[in-house]
Amino acid sequence: MSEHGELVGRLHLIGYETLTDHGLALPIFGQSRGANVFYTARSTPPGEANVQIAGFDHYDPDRLIRLPLEQIRETGLGEPWLDVFLWAGTVNVGTAPEIWNALAEVRERIAKHAPLSLLALAEGVDPVPDLQIFQSAFSWLTTRYGRQKAEEWRNDIYLRGMVLKSVRRELGAYAEKADVRRALQKELKVRQDGHKIVIELPLLNLEGLGSFVGRAVGRGLEPELAKVDNRTSENVMRIAALQVAASKPHGRATTTEIKNEINQYVSLTLQDLLPSKTRPNEAMYQQIVGNIVSHRTSRNSIFAMGWATYTGDGIQITKAGLQYLKTLSL
């Protein structure tokens, strides 16, 4: 299905758009060789190796380069991802392993001039590519742009990218939510401490990142996982819930409204946004909001403190609650 709801089952890989004169290009699809309606493909999961085509989206290329007839390939949903790889004026089309094999005689030359592109192609063949390719990319960057640039690439792009992919695999579709993506970007930190590469992220566990750790160790690095606990406290959430109520007519907010709007008053962390273990359809922070409203008898509740009353489907902030927010300059 295309993004416009049109059923797009089978298409032909008819051309590509280039970023530069070598490496991976953007494959462009159409109904037939002479098509004038174009599509790009989506993969599932995005950005990974050995993936399938999950869908096609309409696309208006600026600089479409059409493939010669003999290179046009028919494909469809659920079939292996097709790449276009440019090298020395030749266009290579196929799955990553097909292209990898077709380039066997020139791979050494590519490694000398475009090792990052070769590494990207190699990852499509095997998620754990030859250590030598990674090392030659690092050495090439060091020679050409200096040690600092090479380390920036290794830590901020390559290793960080591996961790992100690993976490995305672990979180599945949840990782595609805008607020989760944003929190992930903000909270994932990869830094170097001597020979150690320290990775900071709240939800790190060795099981989920096993592939990453194995690969990094194989590259002579010593990854160290620093688990950060930055869940928003229930107390902060209580105050934010009162703020939501205060923003509503008569100071009344339903539980649903609080769940939907609390993120306007508190900066939710990745841990807050993760799915609840007991209620998988809810995020952790939504479950905490539910608890704030339903745990009415607990000693520290907003009701026991006199800051809100229960309305049956939410809360109503009291004068004492408004006064409390004022004392917090909120």
Binding site: H22, G23, P46, G47, V51, W81, L116, R182
Partner: protein, 177 residues
């Protein structure tokens, strides 16, 4: 915008916050919310609407700002509503909705005006020498550059995330956030 780039569009006049949706029509002038064409005006606007640079980069408006406007201040109210599309928690977050756009009537040399260029890492490699010349040019002009990992089967949203994070880190390192 094509699938390769995350470049911003150009505009024809100073038209600060514009919600552009998916496309930009160069013939539509959004001159109903124009700031004075100088840096202090942009700084005042950021201070009023966002509080500081960090919140501006995040697109998060000061909470409750709309309540401080009179009913007749409809332009400000409309702007706050549109700019809110960029805020954390928006269902369709679009950072362009609260971006201050600056347009010049003449071409500007990169030297002295651009601080950081971010592009796909393929552009620092070479098959035929063209990219080397490009990087040498940047270096000669003293421009900083960073790359991101472009893949044909990755989503444009991800590239935008990466570019935004690179910009954030760069501004933080420069002490501007």
């Amino acid at each position: 915008m094509d699938r390769h780039s995350t470049a911003t569009h150009s505009t024809q006049e100073l038209q600060p916050p514009a919600a552009t949706g998916d496309t930009v029509d160069p013939h539509v002038y959004l001159d109903d919310y124009e700031l004075d064409p100088n840096l202090p005006a942009a700084q005042r606007h950021i201070a009023w609407a966002f509080g500081d640079n960090r919140e501006y980069l995040r697109g998060d408006l000061i909470l409750g700002l709309i309540g401080g406007l009179h009913a007749w201040q409809s332009v400000g109210q409309s702007w706050l509503t549109i700019a809110g599309l960029a805020a954390t928690g928006s269902n369709r977050p679009d950072k362009r909705a609260s971006a201050i756009e600056v347009a010049y009537s003449k071409h500007l040399p990169l030297k002295g005006h651009a601080r950081l260029m971010i592009f796909p890492q393929q552009l620092i490699e070479d098959d035929r020498g063209k990219n080397s010349a490009f990087i040498e040019d940047l270096t000669k002009q003293g421009l900083l550059w960073q790359t991101y990992d472009w893949r044909p089967n990755e989503t444009p949203d991800r590239f935008m995330d990466e570019v935004t994070e690179t910009v954030r880190r760069s501004l933080e390192n420069a002490g501007q956030l």
